[in-house]
Amino acid sequence: MSRLAAALVYAVLGAVTFVVCFPLLWAISTSLKPKEEIFRWPPTLIPERVTLESYRELLFGGAVASAPGAGVPPSAFFVDWFVNSVIVSVGSTAISITVATLAAYSLTRFRFRGQRAVPYVAILGYMIPSVIFVFPMFLTMVALDLPDTLLSLILGYVCITLPFCLWLMWAFFRGVPIEIEEAALVDGATRLQVFRQIVLPMALPGIIAASIFSLIVSWNDYLFGRVFMNSMDKLPLTVGVMHFFDGTHVDWGLMMASSVLMTVPMAVLFGFMQRHLVAGFGAGAVKG
């Protein structure tokens, strides 16, 4: 490739990257501004004075006891929301991955009646939008006496993450050669030993990829959280941060700082695991 062409590619990529990343840069910039600078006109692109005040309020604001004359500000719950989001994303991912891995292994190594229907069911489930699920699932949670608990959200997210985890793991196991397992079985190992010691390590890249997408989907969900949860201290992040809009006022500093804090965990995870995601998986690897 000529140097001119390379320079052109860099230029185009640079411009596109700037446009793509601008919302995040703006969020970071705003989150670092003191309150009086946020609404200044014309706006400043780079904060004139950098302050971590917004982050401090989000992360340590809960420690401040509220006086009898003042309500508890929403920012006091930020840490709760964060922990809730971690619990529900990890919880639902753990369930989806466990169920999907076991089933995908079984599907690719055994013969059953009706086996062929399973991938079809998976792909169909994979395509169904959560807006169709959300009310029936809510009524199911009511029947189980679970609304407004983190468990209800975990189960709700299984609903949207399980199908594509299953599909992904199924596709993955089809590509894993069966010979090593067979050799081990012939040598007298039990099926469970084979599964634990040979199959699971080989399936690890698939498990990692499916887990990340499952984590992202449950971390980012808004609709289930909105409908299922009520108590301020039990909300997931996506629903919680909407409370920084109080109808007549938005604390953009808090809003942007929480945007950054919400995005960072997934970005870090994604950064580490990017290799696993891009390589080797077709359309099945992503949900959106």
Binding site: V9, P23, V99, V131, T140, M255, M266, A283, A285
Partner: protein, 297 residues
């Protein structure tokens, strides 16, 4: 002595959690949705759910707003999908170049995919605020526009902004998939073409594009189905407005159930969405030969 399971029992045991989960999380909600679509259900009085036959479906099909939403969903889906595919392929080709530092670009350009919709929709509402948004400010001071653009206030612009958000967030999906496919095209094909004197454009047309065709078809079907049913992006950015100009079927269903207190009508529109989606998945299965054992592997 440990209890030993037979091979067969292990196979069945491994399937059990899935069967339970599918029954509980897939079959049951759908059955429940179908049931709701045949009753009149005012959520304020949950004890009173008379069976009304096909009334809810008739209501939906006779409602001009449903058809308006349907048409708008087609525009929103069509433009978004084409733009995502075109930009996605372009970016993937650039990102496939063996250049120093390309991995950094890859990471950054895939980043929108992981940004929570809530975060990006709220940020966009501020960025694109006609009065106090930074985008209008930057464009004005750069002299690109001469008066403030009402990004979210006219039907056309609101639709364009919603599409822009969708393209911003989901083009990385196309990039991931196409990039994965590009990495599997044997380089010998290109070398041979170069020897034959084929230019870059011809190489793209004769080698890259045919190799990508299959995966692109899959991506387009997938993106079409998902985009058609998107809820959060539109709900959080425009709430379907101004007017009802950015409504799609998902918003229609949600608003019927919640704002209009017609849970049954909401469920009926959900079932209609489900039927459309089934048709879409059939198309997908036809396109890919998905599930045909002999062809796979």
């Amino acid at each position: 002595m440990r209890f030993r399971l037979s091979d067969r029992q292990v196979g069945v045991l491994f399937m059990l959690p899935l069967l339970l989960a599918v029954a509980l999380f897939l079959v049951w909600p759908i059955v429940e949705a179908v049931r709701l679509s045949f009753v009149r259900y005012n959520p304020l009085r949950p004890d009173d759910q008379p069976f009304v036959g096909l009334d809810n479906y008739l209501f939906v099909l006779e409602d001009p707003l449903f058809w308006e939403s349907f048409r708008q969903a087609l525009v929103w889906t069509g433009v978004s999908t084409v733009a995502q595919a075109a930009i996605g392929v372009g970016l993937a080709l650039l990102l496939h170049q063996p250049l120093r530092g390309i991995n950094a670009f890859r990471g950054l350009l895939l980043f929108p995919y992981i940004v929570p919709t809530v975060v990006i929709a709220l940020n966009w509402r501020w960025l694109f605020n006609a009065e106090i948004g930074i985008v209008n400010h930057l464009l004005l001071s750069a002299g690109i526009i001469s008066e403030r653009v009402a990004w979210l206030s006219t039907p056309d612009m609101a639709m364009a902004s919603a599409i822009l958000l969708n393209v911003w967030k989901y083009t990385p999906f196309v990039v991931i998939v196409v990039l994965a496919r590009l990495q599997t095209i044997p380089t010998e094909l290109y070398d041979a073409a170069r020897v034959d004197g084929a230019g870059a454009l011809r190489r793209f047309r004769d080698i890259t594009l045919p190799q990508l065709a299959e995966v692109l078809a899959v991506v387009v079907v997938f993106r079409t189905i998902w985009t058609f049913n998107k809820f959060e992006e539109i709900y959080l950015l425009t709430r379907g407005g101004p007017g009802t100009s950015t409504y799609n079927l998902a918003l229609y269903a949600f608003d019927q159930a919640m704002a209009n207190l017609r849970m049954g009508v909401g469920a009926a529109s959900g079932v209609i969405m489900l039927a459309l989606l089934l048709a879409g998945s059939l198309l997908y299965i036809r396109l890919t030969g998905f599930g045909r054992e002999d062809r796979a592997a």
